[in-house]
């Protein structure tokens, strides 16, 4: 699953806190162009079942998660479905 955030700094803070406090592994990637109307951005990618933890962690850090996208594979292509 992807959570899109406003900046690379927010992504780094979220990733660090998820790992340190919640032991949730995640990694940072550029937000796919199809998912953003505002140009370059960053997302953190994590396992689908950690969505609630990610939301909670972002709230603690006052980080605004712009959207969550579930990742699926259809006809050998990765598609993102907005949650």
């Amino acid at each position: 699953m992807l959570a899109t955030v406003a900046s690379i700094n927010s992504a780094n803070r979220l990733k660090a806190r998820l790992s340190e406090k919640f032991s949730v592994p995640s990694h940072i990637m550029q937000t796919p162009s199809a998912l953003t109307k505002e140009g370059c951005g960053y997302s953190i990618k994590f396992d689908n079942n950690h969505k609630n933890t990610v939301e909670k962690c972002a709230k603690e850090l006052h980080i605004n998660i712009r959207s969550f996208f579930r990742e699926e594979t259809k006809n050998n292509n990765t598609v993102y479905i907005k949650e």
Partner: protein, 370 residues
């Protein structure tokens, strides 16, 4: 060479700082926030880590509100021009460096008003003298924590409380104190400092911290690697102040410098070596040292009937590095009574040994006697 100009920039740097700088340039080399490949993400993570370490050192509650600039002057400009509007009043002190003094005068040219709180002949600015100047128009108080001329230390904690009581923002210039004496910025509005002085980073790094709830206009406008389709700057920190490519090698070096300060606890050693220098210089009969004994590492001296620049020149011939003149702080020299003569400033650092001090003072003594 005996380097005694650490108030200008610290030298030498810890080996960890040099390694971080060369390692970044050699093995990473990517621009912060400009891409999704591993080295670009690692550069961005390094900036984040540097914010966290600075926050730890200064007890700053919101690390994301720490922004990187090219020096303390740029950080000070960002704070002043980001918050002061025409008609607002700024209070500065007579001990300020030109980084504040000239910026405040430019703010006046743009329609603000300026008041100056006068320091004592020892170079200290009392919180009461600042409070007396506050009026309903006062928007910002800028105060230097420690003078780059006399090393005098101002009570920024009381001034912060005064600002809060009157609803006036405060900006503290920590250029001489950051990494040299402990600073707790937890309750401060804004602080600005250099990265290349007491924090052992390289030149080209400065820091501005703006507490949550303060809205500033950015100083520069441009690409941030985020919200690229928007014509406006992103509101989020630190991106609001990170227009253009950042000095990533410098930030990598600064990160190691801050870690060095956190690890080594440099304060006591710097204090001891400064006081040792002060006491030896004080023994020379014709030497006058403005300011109190308790200070950060700037020890400026005047010598009766001697030209300070010529004294520094003669020390330079002995390979001893000191700085003479007005140190970009004419108001401070006026306050200390040294505006006409200037001073010779000796500023030791963490790596200065007692033997260096003894050699420098002995050479200085001989120069004066001849």
């Amino acid at each position: 060479m005996i380097y005694l100009d650490n108030a200008a920039t610290t030298y030498p740097k810890p080996k960890e700082v040099i390694s971080a700088l060369t390692d970044f340039v050699t093995n990473c080399g990517a621009s912060i926030g400009r891409g999704g490949y591993k080295s670009a993400l690692s550069a961005s993570e390094m900036l984040y880590e540097c914010q966290e370490n600075i926050a730890k050192l200064f007890s700053i509650p919101s690390p994301e509100r720490i922004v990187f600039t090219k020096n303390a002057t740029e950080a000070i400009n960002a704070a002043i021009f980001g918050i002061v509007n025409p008609g607002d009043e700024i209070i500065i002190s007579s001990m300020e460096h030109n980084s504040v003094m000239r910026s405040a005068h430019e703010a006046v040219r743009r329609g603000a008003f300026l008041k100056i709180a006068h320091g004592t002949p020892e170079g200290k600015v009392s919180p009461e003298s600042i409070e007396k100047l506050i009026s309903p128009k006062t928007k910002l108080i800028c105060l230097i924590h420690s003078s780059n001329v006399s090393g005098s230390i101002n009570d920024i904690y009381s001034v912060s409380r005064i600002g809060k009581r009157h609803g006036v923002y405060t900006l503290f210039d920590l250029s001489q104190s950051a990494g040299v004496i402990p600073v707790n910025a937890k309750d401060f509005d804004m602080v600005a400092f250099s990265g290349h002085k007491g924090l052992f980073g390289t030149m080209g790094t400065g820091v501005l911290y703006v507490r949550n709830g303060i809205t500033l206009r950015p100083l520069l406008y441009g690409g941030t690697g985020s919200y690229s389709e928007n014509a406006s700057m992103p509101e989020e920190y630190p991106d609001l102040f990170h227009a253009g490519t950042l000095n990533a090698p410098g930030i990598a070096a600064l990160n190691e410098g801050v870690k060095f300060v956190l690890k080594e606890g440099v304060y006591e050693k710097e204090k001891e070596i400064t006081l040792y220098l002060y006491d030896l210089l004080k023994e020379i009969p014709s030497v006058i040292i403005p300011g109190e004994r308790e200070r950060t590492s700037a020890v400026s001296v005047c010598v009766k009937k001697a030209d300070c620049v010529m004294l520094a020149e003669k020390l330079s011939q002995e390979d001893i590095c000191v700085r003479a003149g007005l140190h970009c702080a004419p108001l401070a020299h006026r306050t200390l009574g040294t505006i006409h003569s200037g001073t010779v400033r000796f500023s030791p650092g963490f790596f200065t040994e007692k033997a260096h001090i003894e050699s420098a003072v002995s050479a200085f003594k001989k120069i004066i006697e001849n």
